[in-house]
């Protein structure tokens, strides 16, 4: 892969992180509420930690199985195409039914990590970065043998961890900055002012990411 291609993929991972971070559905208003309820900035930053851990785990839950799958060298393109289709399908499903699973409403406000994990899964946040990740996975040579395959698995796992960490760091930086601005300067009025209905945009983002990845994949096939 070219350096430019690789840089574009990393940019996508960071950009999706910033996008998730400013989305109120991914939790920054919880950090504001925590800071205000405890009257302490420390509580605000304290809430960011479980929010990021939950998000990180949700990313890994999606990426890790693919890290293992990618060892099936001869199926690599099919796996990538299948992943793209999965992302598109999830986006379309969110478009057709924008409502959220009722189970989310049962998570108590004290379980921020669990909440963050569950909303990221329910929204397909991990799926959004999956095509970027697959693009970064190093394709092994066809005849490299088992030892090399094991090396590739390790490389893929390490890459999954790195991608999830970079994405989550971008997400919590954006969300944390926004939470701090609202808490310290803008006031809670901004909570309602800042909320746009991103459901459709979010679903379309999934479809778009999946479609672009699928197009690149198919173009490379021929």
């Amino acid at each position: 892969m070219s350096e430019a291609g690789s840089a574009a993929l990393w940019l996508g991972i960071v950009a999706s992180g910033l996008y998730h971070g400013i989305n109120p559905g991914m939790g920054w208003p919880l950090a504001v509420a925590a800071g205000l309820m405890e009257k302490s900035p420390r509580a605000l930053f304290g809430a960011l930690l479980p929010l990021s851990v939950g998000h990180l785990l949700a990313m890994l839950l999606v990426l890790l199985p693919f890290a293992l799958l990618m060892v099936l060298v001869e199926w690599q393109r099919q796996i990538q195409a299948g992943a793209s289709l999965l992302v598109i399908a999830f986006g379309l499903a969110r478009l057709l039914n924008p409502r959220h699973p009722r189970a989310l409403a049962r998570i108590p406000p004290t379980q921020l990590g669990l909440w963050s994990f569950a909303v990221a899964i329910a929204h397909g946040a991990g799926l959004m970065i999956l095509p970027f990740y697959l693009g970064l996975c190093q394709p092994p040579g066809i005849h490299d043998g088992h030892a090399a395959a094991a090396g590739v698995v390790n490389q893929n796992l390490a890459m999954a961890l790195l991608v999830a960490l970079v994405h989550t760091a971008a997400m919590i930086t954006a969300g944390g900055c926004l939470a701090w601005l609202v808490y310290r300067y803008l006031g809670v009025r901004f909570v309602a002012q800042s909320w746009f209905n991103l459901d459709t945009v979010w679903a379309l983002s999934l479809v778009l990411v999946g479609a672009v990845a699928l197009t690149i994949n198919l173009a490379g096939w021929h």
Binding site: L30, A33, K39, I107, P109, V191, W195, N197
Partner: protein
């Protein structure tokens, strides 16, 4: 589904207070002899308007005998809960349960309150089948749906199984099912409310249907058989975590009013009558060290009255009990309004120190023995009952009917529907507005009031107020 949060949703109570004042008030009308269908009246409350203090629109229901009592919105400020993050529902539909019929009407108030119309009717069978409860009463808009408390269980007289709370979808209005997972010792129900970020709910007790539908049962009251306990719940776990008995003589613990600011972990409940001395009382509950506590913080004595001024029910006592039937807390949690339906008084307590309420204002109007007329000269029968406070705390509205069959026992001469308003002084004090007096069509009584854009017994908040 909207693109932006509803402009009437507010993150904190302070922001709700700063919002534009109400232009319309919705009031439920009931036909006490069931000869006419119940109705929703839309009243113009915009000062200076040509139709100020008049009914400008009426939504008449297609059935008779529903007995409207309380009602509420499909969605409110709780939709801004940070746990939801998708506040794209509208405060648009009024959920109006028939307390006697168990039928629920959904009334659409858009595009304009003066064009409100029925959007959907949920027949009683759906409520019975999906919940096993009957006689829906209090409506609260939660972040995850509409919560409805019921007064009756299953069976014809509502005594088969305990009453409880069920949930409705806030967009489709489907009845989703029972809320409780573990009700503990709770067997009676009346009001409920919550603190959303602190994740607890508080519920109160009135009575089972045979104890109220055909009038108050004096033997049950004197036998202390009406409700006298408060239940505290883990809201998300849907579990009763604590029950406190106020003492059997404290009959009928009704309205539950938690502080609006979610950092304040206290609230109030009103007790209708103490059977040892007929006084009414206000109780303050609070949470400390993970446990709930409660104490009686204000009492209102009965007033002696000559026998000829009393209905048969009270003649043996020679006194009028205050009958604390509704209370309401201002948005800044400063003033608690207390309806004394028997003695005909609206009291205003300063509850800045919640465990030491101080009487700050009072007006007399109506009353069993006093029968105080409105300052504009018009007769006001019944007494102050359902009370609602404007978001900015400057106006307090109330109506005069309690419940069809009970009205007849305490006010045998009838309770023609009336609604009045009092202005609140900047540091307390109450004065009835001479130019606000709503008369309702003949044969109707007036019950709960809801204000356009939310009021002090509707909205719950997930962010504390930041006072500068």
């Amino acid at each position: 589904m909207t693109m932006r949060p509803d402009p009437t949703f507010h993150a904190s109570p302070k922001l709700a207070m700063e919002a534009p004042p109400e232009s319309f008030a919705y009031t439920l009308l009931l036909s006490p002899d069931f000869s006419k269908p119940d109705a929703l009246a839309v009243i113009d409350v915009k000062p200076g308007s040509k139709t100020y203090s008049q009914i400008v629109h009426t939504v008449t229901m297609p059935n008779k005998g529903d007995e409207f009592h309380h009602f509420g919105w499909n969605a409110c400020s709780s939709a801004l809960s940070p746990l939801t993050g998708h506040a794209f529902v509208e405060r648009r539909y009024l959920i109006i349960p028939g307390l006697r019929s168990s039928r629920i009407y959904i009334v659409d108030t858009k595009p304009d309150p003066t064009q409100a119309k029925i959007h959907k009717i949920i027949e009683p069978e759906e409520v019975f089948d999906k919940t096993g409860y009957s006689r829906p009463h209090t409506i609260h808009c939660g972040p995850d749906g509409i919560y409805v408390s019921t007064l009756g269980g299953g069976g014809k007289d509502g005594t088969k199984g305990p009453p409880g709370v069920f949930i409705m979808d806030c967009e489709t209005f489907d009845v989703l099912g029972r809320w409780e997972i573990d009700r503990g010792p709770q067997t009676l129900h009346y009001d409920f409310w919550w603190n959303l970020p602190r994740d607890y709910m508080v519920s109160s007790e009135w009575a089972l249907p045979p104890q109220f539908e055909n009038g108050i049962v004096p033997e049950d009251l004197l036998g202390n058989k009406y409700g006298h306990r408060l239940h505290f719940w883990d809201l998300r776990a849907r579990r009763n975590v604590q029950t406190i008995d106020l003492g059997a003589n404290h009959q009928m613990a009704l309205e539950v009013r938690p502080a609006h600011d979610p950092v304040r972990e206290y609230g109030f409940v009103g007790v209708v009558v103490d059977t040892t001395n007929l006084e009414g009382s206000i109780w303050t509950w609070w949470r400390e060290g993970g446990k709930f506590h409660i104490e009686k913080t204000a009492t209102i004595p009965a007033e002696p009255a000559p026998k000829e001024k009393l209905p048969p029910l009270l003649q043996g006592f020679g006194a009028v009990p205050p009958l604390v039937t509704d209370i309401d807390l201002s948005m800044d949690d400063r003033f608690l309004y207390v309806s004394c339906w028997g003695t005909g008084e609206m009291r205003q307590y300063d509850v800045s120190d919640p465990r030491k309420p101080k009487l700050a204002g009072s007006v007399h109007i109506g009353g069993i023995a006093r029968r105080t007329p409105h300052p504009n000269g018009k007769a006001f029968t019944g007494g102050p009952q359902m009370v609602e406070i404007s978001r900015d705390g400057k106006r307090v509205y109330w109506t005069n009917s309690l419940y069809s069959s009970w009205d007849d026992q305490f006010y045998p001469d009838g309770v023609p529907g009336a609604k009045v308003m009092a202005n609140v002084g900047p540091n307390g004090g109450l004065e009835l507005a001479r130019d606000y007096f709503v008369s309702f069509p003949d044969g109707y009584r007036a019950h709960q009031i809801r204000l356009e854009g939310g009021d002090c017994s509707t909205d719950s908040f997930c962010y504390p107020s930041v006072w500068n």
